[in-house]
Symmetry: C2
Subunit: 344 residues, 2 copies
Amino acid sequence: MTDGAKSEDVKAGKSPARTMRRNPTMADLARAAGVSKITVSRALADSPLVAETTRRRIQQLARDRGYRLNVSARNFRRQRSNLIATIVEMTPSAGRTMLDPYPLALLGAIAQELAGVGYGVLLTTRQGMTESFIHAADGVILLGQGAHQSSVKLCDEMGVPLVVWGAGTDGDAHVIVGSDNVHGGASAAEHLLSTGRRRPVFVGNADHAEMAQRLRGFRDVLARRGIGPTCVTPNGWTMDAGAGAIDSLLADKTAFDAVFACSDLLAMGAIRALREHGVRVPEDVSVIGYDDTPLGAAFTPPLTSVRQNWLDGGALLARKILALVDGRVAASEKMPTSLIVRQT
Amino acid sequence: MTDGAKSEDVKAGKSPARTMRRNPTMADLARAAGVSKITVSRALADSPLVAETTRRRIQQLARDRGYRLNVSARNFRRQRSNLIATIVEMTPSAGRTMLDPYPLALLGAIAQELAGVGYGVLLTTRQGMTESFIHAADGVILLGQGAHQSSVKLCDEMGVPLVVWGAGTDGDAHVIVGSDNVHGGASAAEHLLSTGRRRPVFVGNADHAEMAQRLRGFRDVLARRGIGPTCVTPNGWTMDAGAGAIDSLLADKTAFDAVFACSDLLAMGAIRALREHGVRVPEDVSVIGYDDTPLGAAFTPPLTSVRQNWLDGGALLARKILALVDGRVAASEKMPTSLIVRQT
DNA sequence: CGGTGTCAAGTTACCGATAACATATGCCCG
DNA sequence: CGGGCATATGTTATCGGTAACTTGACACCG
């Protein structure tokens, strides 16, 4: 006799009140179908271990009765949560992140990629990134500007697979996916040189790993022509910060004919400031932004910008973490960037 | 004899290889402490049922051995996942949402509020919103522009608690939290009237519930002065759409001295278009935006805009869904808006 | 015709925590 | 001094799946 039938007896004796109907369990289906629980389990998982006809019969039965898998039970038994904790910086104070579309774009892509294989995204803010959250997940994706060392260490200690979005200083222990900032900077420099500019300014914060790489690419290309760019560190990532950077350059009477800004917002602020000072863009000064945001494209004049493909990046992050979770290996990877030339 | 000791015997007989060390379980701690599993469970939960001294001893032991609660096991036993599925529209095609800081701000606030009580956010895109995801959560928060009927229905059918961010058409079955769009529109109208404007234009899509409410508030206030606003429906939510709306008004030779746009982006586009046509802002035409984005504040000229507090909104959404999950009641609620007057 | 495969299903034994109920101990009070 | 009660701990029985191993039936083969 099957275990299904056995538990039926027990149950009938125990709870004669059959009025309230919970969700059916596999045991319920098993009883109804006259098979054992495990056969139901296999049938619903489309296992070839169950005869085609039985399988279909059970699947139909499950549909009829509105059966819903108890996810908690499965996760528990299999000792995995099918969740990937994704840590995002979301404090309003961060300024930049609240504005950028990039975390959302990445998140969307990650969520979609993971959903395709039955995984979910456990969203976590950096403040809320307690051990218990990390432990509840099979792996962690860290979306930060650069890797926050504390988070990285925490994951390592706990033995939880980790993938980071951002800039990798070569030789990092963990897997890093990010766009090729060096190439992005280099392409900006090449474009400026090809349009005859010789006195470029870099607007960005070299303390920030991603921006430091952009500067490196930018500088290296220029160096081959014997040019050294002027560097300004803006006070934040807002339009105002970009404008402020330009203001200080003009106040110093620095001569320049091109600006490479590390974000579209900075670039737009720079253009605003230039124009306020009567400097024409792009006639007098050429400007290149970064991120190729819709906003920059809608700006007057439409912004030339370095594009990074966040959707692909998110999908890649997802695939890498899944690989690690499955015990496979994964390598760091750089996403290509492309320069979108518009009118600045 | 305690169950702890019993299982020790069994285990020792079964797996003599004691080299590999898994995470300890409560049973392990119980054995080590010479108490029963349940006492460990209680002690770690700080239950007053356990004597102070015992409790501390067990907690210390847990710390020493690096004990980690098996979340899956607890969730399974308690029949709740401690997860709230949060559904966000994240497709790039949506245009607006990819740009707005609002989903992230809401998400951040929700995540933080929920984390405080041990709940997590299961991030879901609208495409990925399969039954299984919803079922895996104790409740659902829907962040959409307006409620997507299909999603709402799905939750209802599945008997999963649901809270929606957006505009409630009075008499909705589900709980809705949103900012007071009617009031937002009204305050814009009042401000325009108080600065002497008499021929206002509304730029927004009245098919969209939130915007329809803004229009209602706007229109009602104006009606008291016998004024009826001109309405234009922009083609999207981008700057270009805002500019296009203005272009069509000017082409029609419509006379107006004020614009109330349903987003800062639209407002900025409108200003761009006005200036391109030689219309001065705010001298000739006054402009009010919506959302009070950092971007609008940094615009030239800084945008006057209706602010909604997303952080509070997110926290409120979180508290409402928790109430429903706990079987308490929750009512729809409107968040106040405030007009931030700047230079337009 | 026994041996050996192959398929289709079944048995057993958990995964780790916790609710509900049960027990032991000591103390107070009429 | 026995009943009642508070306190501290223990027992039992799951929650609902699924991995690992077992069984039964039949076919094919030398």
